[in-house]
């Protein structure tokens, strides 16, 4: 009864995060939508940081000029 190491019956797939039964790991095929969702979740901290830095930069003189210039070019196109 106590002769074996404890182990979970399932493990998350390292590529898509799906819960896969340990005895069917070799048969698992990642669902693309699930993989995409998992990768977005992994990147959320980086994305949030980028959004915060971009928001801060857009409020600087350089950022404001870029917003103005982008709008100017769009009107001229």
């Amino acid at each position: 009864m106590f002769g074996s190491m404890p182990q979970p019956t399932h493990l998350p797939c390292p590529s898509c995060g799906a819960s896969v039964a340990r005895d069917s790991v070799g048969e698992h095929l990642c669902d693309e939508e699930q993989r995409s969702r998992y990768e977005r979740f992994q990147a959320r901290v980086e994305v949030d940081r980028f959004d915060a830095e971009l928001t801060t930069w857009l409020d600087t003189p350089a950022g404001r000029f870029e917003v103005f210039y982008a709008a100017h070019r769009r009107r001229a196109a």
């Binding site: 979970p8 019956t9 998350p12 819960s19």
Partner: protein, 142 residues
């Protein structure tokens, strides 16, 4: 009575844990409820305690789905063998969200009186959960 108690046990899982209707505890759980969980150092006290308990796991796993694998009733007790699945999107036991889907199993023994849950004992694979989240090394493949 046996079937009625089994039905309440099922409703608690379905409404409180799967649907997140925390107010269901007021209908099915005694104010004097005491819950014992092997993964918790202190007992869960009262219907407010079980609401907080359910909320903790639903915050960590917003898509939490517990399915009943087997249920046996005798006297005032109901034994439920269950399997829980969910995606880790909120902090649990200090582990930051990983986005991983997990599956754990457990057994809960409930005791009922007058149609209300008054005490239960739950034993579940908390170590397996931590291994799936990567918080503890998988001792087999590590």
């Amino acid at each position: 009575m046996l079937e009625a108690n089994k039905a309440i046990a099922s409703r608690i899982i379905q409404e409180l844990f799967n649907q997140g209707r925390l107010e269901a505890a007021d209908q099915y759980v005694s104010p004097g409820f005491v819950g014992h969980d092997t993964a918790r150092p202190a007992p869960i006290i009262g219907s407010s305690g079980i609401k907080e308990y359910a909320a903790t796991y639903r915050t960590a796993f917003p898509d939490l789905e517990i399915s009943i694998s087997e249920q046996v009733a005798e006297g005032d007790r109901v034994v439920t063998r269950w399997e829980a699945r969910g995606t880790h999107e909120g902090e649990l036991f200090g582990v930051v969200p990983t986005g991983k889907q997990v599956t754990v199993t457990g057994i809960t023994i409930d005791r009922y009186a007058d149609g209300l849950l008054i005490e239960n004992w739950t034993s579940w694979d908390a170590l397996g959960l931590l291994m799936q989240l990567g918080a503890v090394p998988d001792l087999v493949t590590a």
